[in-house]
């Protein structure tokens, strides 16, 4: 008796997962096939779910003729450097805010978070003027630094929250053992919060990768992030839907690789069995 209800539960569960995957992934499937469709099939009635007429024109045009590849390379440079920068600064900061004696901890946390609330529109022209005055317009570093304003708050908050939930004994016993603060951070805290580090890094990367407004304003011809290249595939007289799909897909590759690399930490995360007495 019990095994039958269990089997039904299992089937329902997998069905549920399947429906969820279908809903969230159909648009992605649509993106893929659009990138290979000829123009007449992109807006076609009834919709073409299994295109018979395939072409690579979208890839050639989007990636090469219209600089999709350069866009992806530039975005990759900006996003990875930004992620490294943000993680390097936010880990110690979160550690300090969570565990170390700091006066006004909560106010500092609130202040830091509030910086993410800055509407990009308000900051756009000031940042333009700022970087222009140093001569850093159309450079990688301008974007890397600008994005940290939004990524640091998120990373610090995320990491602080997770560190704060660790049992205090971990930290205190290490202190008692005579470990220095830096070593505690490196050898004890970091391994324990790997899932959240992975998430913070991933989201930081994605935010920088996908950002549009600053990318548009602060660059010209030398640096061309791919989020600016995609809208330039809309001309006054033509929207290259297929090319947009193609460039978007290729632009997904770095982030997917990143997810794959961090996936181990995202899923399997370490439990606290190690602390059990």
């Amino acid at each position: 008796m019990r095994s039958r209800t269990n089997i039904i539960k299992e089937v329902l569960f997998y069905a549920f997962i399947a429906v969820v995957c279908l809903v969230f992934l159909f648009p992605f499937y649509w993106l893929i096939i659009t990138s290979f469709k000829i123009e007449l099939d992109i807006f076609h009635y009834p919709p073409v779910y299994f295109p018979m007429r395939l072409t690579d024109w979208n890839y050639r045009t989007g990636l090469i003729d219209l600089w999709g590849l350069k866009g992806i390379t530039d975005s990759f440079i900006i996003s990875s450097l930004n992620t490294l920068f943000v993680m390097a600064l936010s880990l110690p900061a979160a550690y300090a805010l969570a565990l170390l004696p700091i006066r006004g901890r909560n106010s500092l946390l609130n202040y830091i978070l509030s910086q993410r609330m800055l509407p990009p529109i308000a900051a756009a022209i000031p940042f333009f003027v700022l970087w222009n005055s140093i001569g850093w317009l159309d450079t990688y570093q301008a974007l890397i630094l600008t994005y940290s304003v939004f990524n640091l708050p998120f990373a610090i908050w995320l990491l602080t929250s997770y560190i704060q939930e660790l049992p205090r004994e971990v930290y205190e016993s290490a202190l008692v053992d005579g470990a220095s603060r830096i070593n505690i951070l490196r050898h004890i805290i970091v391994p324990l919060i790997k899932p959240s580090i992975a998430i913070a890094a991933l989201f930081t990367f994605i935010f920088s990768w996908n950002e549009f407004l600053f990318a548009l304003l602060l660059t010209r011809s030398h640096v061309r992030p791919f989020t600016v290249i995609i809208p330039s595939l809309i001309g006054g007289h033509v929207i290259l839907w297929g090319a947009i799909a193609a460039v978007t897909l290729v632009g997904l590759i770095p982030t997917v690789i990143l997810v794959l690399m961090l996936q181990r930490h995202l899923i399997r995360g370490l439990t606290f069995g190690a602390i059990k007495g």
């Binding site: 548009l216 809208p231 330039s232 809309i234 001309g235 033509v238 590759i253 794959l260 690399m261």
Partner: protein
């Protein structure tokens, strides 16, 4: 303690496995990247194919007796134009900023020739189309001055001319008399509606037309000119469609009569026998609908402002225009209220609508089997109008378009003008090279373009696959383009136009959706226009408007 040791060992073991699996993943990543790079490299190689060369010699005699030797538009350098011994602007670097994508192709194609002949190193900056005006304005207003030559749509002209950011090119054009090959842009050859309404300001010339956007009326020849369908139409409405429509010529369509009747007849919801699903389509989306309203407004005899800068958009012509716009919506496909350029074009080219008003690109794309299901079935004609004072007044909005101008922050005005002249002068066949090439999306704007179909033919013959408009359809298309441009009605080109448009478009959008009565919508828009004018400085704008009106009179839009 023992536990700690195990733990550490465990960690070490795990980390070795971790390391291996991470290494595996990096490996996969590298392989994927390698494949992508390899495929990319393969295609990059195949793009650089050798160009085809066709040489055509043509003697041109009209206002200027001059022999111009031309070569077919390819990437190869013109064989008969000799590069000067020492390029005059050696070492000058200029940045040209325009909307990214196909419209910039000519700059890329000609970059090397410009370097060879003028010595100018051209840096090309592409900005997404929707952000072009904003980005240029930020550059001008903050004094960053990174752009030397700018490409922009004339409706932003008011802000750029009025902000005094552009260089007066009269002195350079003057030099064209003495030295045509290097300085002449044949100003008088640009069709008057463009050159007077969009390129001049306060009696001075600041810009050269680069793209002649205008509205034409396109219709399904196979359907609207079909005798049987005409019989059925006559039975219902008392006249034949062929009486009022002539492809390549001046049709006599009235927005509030023939246009509505034809649209009704070809909408299946109202006429189940209709061969097309919908009669027509409109650019009714927010941010786009002001252009189709402009066309009707101009046809109804409207002017945007009076001489005291009070808006006249909510007077009788404006209301008539908006009411008619509302009446047409029921003959359009669903979703029309959010239609932008793409949907509007597809409605016609994919066969849903029987007759529309659209930009010139429809003519070219209609003949391209990769984009159109109605190849060889397009008719081109004059846009509809309204009867005003007993006469049929047909006006199509000269919507959007592009001009080339020199930023006042440019390092070298002369060199910048020479680059513009290179792109619009004899070496580019007075820009025919570009407008005849469907890869650019640029549209004709000179009499020269209309009167030399043989140049278009040469382009088509050299590469029919990318040539777009076929030889068969070309004469009708060019004739229709010429008539429509001459019947063009301008956008307002005063400082603040983007804001004025926004106030107008949201209300047109609301009226089209039935949320608000047309007269009330226009009254609200006019009220907001008043407050915008006040804020920007009524006296200043009065002067701007007065000088614009001068151009309107010159083109015959207003009688003295």
């Amino acid at each position: 303690m023992g536990e700690n040791k195990n733990e550490k060992l465990g960690k070490k073991r795990i980390s070795r496995r971790e390391a291996l699996s991470t290494a595996a993943k990096i490996g996969i990543g590298v392989v994927v990247a390698g494949v992508v790079a390899g495929v990319g490299g393969y295609y990059a190689g195949s793009v650089a194919a050798p160009p085809k060369t066709v040489t055509v010699t043509e003697t041109r005699e009209r206002t200027v007796t001059q022999t111009v030797t031309v070569t077919a538009p390819t990437a190869a350098p013109p064989t008969t134009v000799v590069a000067p011994a020492k390029p005059p602007y050696e070492g000058v670097k200029l940045t040209i900023c325009g909307d990214a994508g196909h419209n910039q192709m000519p700059f890329y194609w000609e970059k090397d020739h410009i370097a060879e002949i003028l010595g100018v190193e051209l840096d090309i900056v592409g900005v997404p189309f929707g952000e072009l005006v904003d980005k240029i304005m930020v550059d001008f207003a903050t004094g960053a001055g990174a752009y030397d030559i700018v490409v922009f749509p004339p409706f932003a002209g008011g802000d750029f001319y009025g902000g005094e950011f552009l260089v007066n090119i009269d002195p350079f054009i003057e030099r064209g008399k003495a030295d045509p090959e290097n300085w002449d842009i044949k100003w008088d050859d640009i069709i008057p509606t463009f050159r007077e309404l969009y390129c001049s300001w306060g009696g001075k010339r600041y810009a050269v037309t680069w793209d002649g956007d205008h509205y034409q009326c396109y219709f399904r020849k196979d359907v609207l000119l079909d005798p049987k369908i005409n019989e059925a139409f006559k039975n219902k409405y008392g006249y034949k469609i062929t009486d009022v429509i002539k492809s390549g010529g001046e049709s006599k369509l009235r927005y509030d009569k023939e246009w509505l009747e034809i649209a009704e007849f070809f909408t299946q919801a109202y006429n189940p026998d209709s061969p097309t699903k919908y009669g027509t389509s409109e650019l009714a989306g927010r941010g786009n609908n002001q252009w189709h309203w402009n066309s009707r407004f101009g046809s109804a005899g409207g002017i945007y402002f009076d001489m005291d800068m009070h808006p006249l958009i909510n007077k009788e012509p404006g209301v008539r225009a908006l009411k008619n716009f509302v009446d047409v919506i029921k003959y359009c496909p669903p979703g029309v209220l959010d239609f932008g350029y793409e949907e509007h074009k597809d409605a016609f080219l994919l066969g849903d609508a029987a007759i529309i008003v659209q930009w010139p690109c429809i003519g070219k794309k209609g003949q391209d089997p990769a984009q159109s299901k109605i190849v060889d079935n397009l008719g081109y004609t004059l846009v509809p109008g309204f009867e005003v004072g007993g006469m049929l007044n047909q006006r199509g909005n000269l919507a959007f378009g592009r001009v080339l101008a020199i930023s006042k922050f440019a390092e070298n005005y002369e060199a910048a003008y020479r680059v513009i002249q290179y792109l619009s002068g004899p070496r580019s066949w007075w820009a025919t090279k570009w407008v005849a090439d469907p890869r650019t999306g640029l549209d004709p704007f000179r009499y020269y373009h209309m009167e030399n179909p043989n140049l278009w033919y040469e382009r088509w013959k050299s590469d029919p696959e990318t040539a777009g408009i076929s030889w068969k359809a070309l004469p009708e298309y060019l004739q229709s383009a010429k008539i429509n441009i001459e019947h063009g009605f301008p956008e307002p080109t005063i400082p603040g136009t983007p804001e004025l448009y926004d106030a107008l478009t949201i209300r047109i959008s609301a009226a089209l959706g039935g949320e608000i009565d047309p007269k009330k919508a226009l009254d609200e828009a006019a009220a907001e226009w008043e407050s915008i004018i006040d804020r920007l400085g009524r006296d200043y704008l009065k002067r701007c408007w007065a000088s614009l009106i001068g151009a309107w009179k010159e083109v015959g839009l207003i009688k003295e």
